[in-house]
């Protein structure tokens, strides 16, 4: 299972999903209309590194983080 965590203002508990890559996660979230609004503006990190491709293979215990727009300071 892969852990998915929703950071900052998304305010959702983390979850575990059985997926092999990010493309499968994209499909998994397809019907979640509320989350789609966040997904349009969220960046994605795999094991705390931001990624820009869906073709990244995932392994057991990998962690995916969704990062909404940021504003420190």
């Amino acid at each position: 299972m892969v852990k998915v965590e929703f950071l900052g203002p998304i305010s959702r508990p983390s979850m575990e999903v059985d997926i092999a890559n990010l493309q499968e996660l994209k499909t998994y979230f397809k019907e979640d209309k509320e989350l789609q609004e966040w997904l349009a503006i969220c960046a994605v990190a795999v094991n705390d590194t931001l990624v820009c491709s869906l073709d990244i293979p995932l392994s057991l215990n990998d962690k995916i983080s969704l990062l909404p727009p940021v504003c420190g300071g």
């Binding site: 950071l7 503006i41 969220c42 990190a45 820009c52 969704l66 990062l67 909404p68 300071g73």
Partner: protein
């Protein structure tokens, strides 16, 4: 050096501590930036969430850039609520030469605003309101959005 504090930053104590750490290291310039929460648009203050793993790697990458120019970075940021007229953010650059530090503090703060994984909320009537309109999209955003 990166410090995270719960609530508003104790500016005088932090700057005094930083100065004590660097004053005998033969740096010629110590250039701090202190961010102070302004009373505007009826807010009572700001509030912050931080994702520490990526913040640490972002900061460490900057520290390496600073090191390559014989400079050193210090940063402190608040978690949670920070009332108006108190500080949520301090950063500083020390370097042998003034010009390096002046340029770096600007570049560092700009990149901090654009990329540090910190989420800001306005405090309005005691509630947190995500400052979405003032926030910056990160690289690769929208990757998981369903195709139209």
């Amino acid at each position: 050096m990166l410090e995270l504090h719960n609530g508003p930053l104790q500016v005088e104590a932090i700057l005094t501590s930083w100065y004590a750490q660097i004053k005998d290291k033969n740096f010629g310039a110590f250039i701090p930036f202190v961010g102070i929460v302004r009373d505007e648009d009826g807010i009572e203050g700001l509030s912050f969430d931080i994702y520490e793993p990526i913040l640490n790697s972002w900061f460490n990458a900057w520290q390496e850039r600073a090191k390559a120019q014989n400079a050193y970075l210090l940063m402190a940021h608040s978690r949670g609520d920070v009332p108006n007229h108190t500080s949520s953010y301090i950063s500083a650059v020390v370097s042998p030469k003034r010009k390096v530090a002046l340029k770096m503090i600007n570049d560092f703060v700009e990149d901090f605003k654009a990329n540090a994984p910190i989420w800001k909320y306005d405090l309005v009537d005691g509630k947190r309101v995500y400052a979405k309109d003032r926030s910056h999209l990160l690289q690769g955003h929208g990757l998981l959005k369903a195709d139209a």
